[in-house]
Subunit: 308 residues, 3 copies
């Protein structure tokens, strides 16, 4: 059998290709993960990224597209965008629901459409919350200059925007799509917020690269995070047996956590109005109004530098 | 009113869409941030990213495009590229100038063109500085292999290249665009260099993910930075009142800062020829020729591992 | 001479463009790095990224494209993909071989084709190893939910996949391309694995942003890494003289390294079955079965937070 058509390929390739094809085919056959897709089709990641882009245009018209809106035209713009998003997102949700259930799912289409509409109904509320996030960034960063710049170019706001969308789908038990959304933001910003986390208003992330916020994290209002902060689990070696268990911390209102700090553990509570200094490593609860910092001059300083 | 045209959408969506549209329209109306764009149009991020790509082709011809240049053809290639960049960049600068000023700006177009030409006049000088950055990367990384590989694939060099472009626009008080440029590099490399920072020659960043260099940082010549280094502010809770204040450190010539180190505060000066060890956390000045390292075996080591 | 054609550009630009062109041309002439390309053409990065995408479709059909495969169709699909990859990759390998050698290389095309076929012959084996990596992610992350989600959206798996491909080309001394591949993954995931590292089966990276694994690192089977882990060199100020020297650690089987830990030095061995706690900074070897953690409450905690 000639799998490679009439192409003019080198003999060495022709000599070997059939063996490679046979080995890969055998892999497909022996591991169902590869060919299990005949009971359904996976959601399309590029479609989901496109939906995020459409949602962003509805939330912040004129920033990421060229429409010139005024009060008269706005409803038509929004209505048309929502219709497009509804069609596209409900199809992806349907695929996700169908794929994840081996049993036949006759009503998947209806369920997907109901979930999508319920999601869209949250948009005006999310839009208001995003305004508080923008305000927090403007208040928190001396280099911001303007709120437009925050909307336009702050990776922290982008990650928060995507998280707030993905979280609504996570709450409605949509498989795959929330994670695809937040991993897209993770790739673009270096900020990894699990769609399952619960995060209040006036949330500000500065710089952001390396931030990790775990699935069962609870964060209150008016919290500031800097680059490299981990809000994570103490140990995940329990694996799938820990699914659903609260294994990430709770951060109360008005907390600032500076760069590189790690806060770990499902029972760890950072009380309201705390300030956690850079690189702090915290595995137990901290009282409200505390200020935590690593002991500062735990450093060796030698005159005349030598090789480290 | 039927905002959604004649599309065949599900009843549940039709029942709800008008309320969602009305709520989002109300949000637009109550928060001017959304619809304030009628006095101007924002710069176009995709255009700015394209300009970065064109600038890179002028700086490093043949590396990121397919032209075959020789000494005779080079002037035509450069001239044509500069003409394209001039047209495109002066338009974006004009948009940025117009958007940022509520007052009428009759001479915005002329100002934008003047700024753009002044920027282009810096290119030959920047190109020479970039050669020193390439040399520093080649000298500093045993895995480099060749300078071409540095140009071709080192994220650190890309972030430095974009910073050096953005810095020239920042110095000319162009709004929006410098930040859009550096955030683009941040997204691609994980390296967040504010366009306002002042950085000398022979600058080398290895790996780079997680690096943050704040707006008022001053860095001398021949400085090496590794991944996860923060050169930041001590506290930014003063918010917009701190705009313009020097709140980030000064790093003198010939300093190496290893991975994960944080250097904080506007009065902090790292003297020339210092070596700052990995994960050091420094909030006060260090004398020249010092070697700073965290106390090493501040570790608990137990035989037989248990759960952390 | 009018380099800029008949375009209607502003006078200020016309007055200055010839000087800028002359200066950049002079830069090209005085630094051969810019115009040394006449003895060869560099590999094309966008082609190499496309090859990665094609390879991923062969490894995980149906996840990143829309083919519906079954056992009958699979061989045709694989055969066609391999033919495309062979043509495209052997061309890029040839360019890389030619560029890197000043001496004439008559047999570059044959060598490139031989290397490419040898690379393709490894694919079935790599595919099996990737299955163990997927299993490790599913076992290690309580939030995984399904193995499909791991394949579909885990940045750690993507970085490992690209590394495993690039490593095979590195072993065959292909210049440029392994680094272009791993830097592409670095840009998308924040995970920087050098193609030269040696990494065993059941390798799991969670979150991953900021991870650096150096060129001469050796990692055993069943190792888990979290975000911000550096497996690096102690000092690279030896520069190119250190090329080829083992300067990165060895990590034995069944080791877990939590977020932000740094393990440095070519003689450092982390024994099998160790657990290295978050933010640990290790520059010497650790016995098997050890558990290493930083001293925990090295923190100042004050009631009532004040400015840091």
């Amino acid at each position: 059998m000639n799998y490679i058509g009439g192409r003019d390929l080198k003999d060495y390739f022709k000599m070997n290709v059939q063996d490679i094809v046979a080995d890969i085919t055998t892999n497909y056959l022996t591991e169902e993960l590869f060919l299990a897709k005949d009971f359904g089709q996976l959601p399309d990641r590029s479609q989901i990224i496109h939906i995020i882009s459409e949602l962003r245009q509805v939330m912040f018209p004129g920033y990421f597209s060229h429409e010139k809106l005024d009060c008269t035209l706005a409803p038509y713009f929004i209505g048309q965008k929502l219709a497009i998003i509804f069609e596209s997102l409900s199809k992806q949700v349907e695929l996700a629901l169908l794929y994840n259930k081996a049993e036949a799912k006759e009503n998947a289409k209806e369920e997907a459409e109901r979930i999508t509409v319920d999601f869209l109904k949250e948009l005006p509320k999310i839009q208001k919350v995003l305004l508080t996030d923008i305000q927090a960034a403007f208040d928190g960063d001396p280099a911001a200059g303007s709120k437009e710049l925050v909307i336009f170019s702050y990776p922290g706001l982008y990650a928060i925007f995507v998280y707030r969308m993905a979280h609504e789908l996570y709450l409605r038990n949509v498989p795959f799509i929330p994670r695809i959304m937040t991993e897209h933001a993770h790739s673009k910003t270096g900020i990894d917020i699990h769609a399952g986390a619960t995060i209040g208003k006036y949330f500000f992330i500065d710089h952001g690269t390396g931030i990790v916020i775990g699935e069962t994290t609870i964060i209150g209002d008016n919290v500031n995070l800097y680059q490299g902060v981990t809000i994570g689990a103490l140990s995940t070696r329990g694996g799938q047996s820990l699914a659903g268990v609260k294994r990430h911390p709770t951060i109360e209102d008005n907390v600032t956590i500076y760069s590189g700090a790690s806060i770990l553990g499902g029972d760890t509570v950072i009380g309201h109005d705390c300030v956690i200094g850079g690189n702090a490593f915290i595995t137990s609860s901290v009282e409200p109004y505390s200020r935590v910092s690593i002991k500062n001059p735990d450093l060796y300083i030698k005159g005349k530098s030598q090789d480290l």
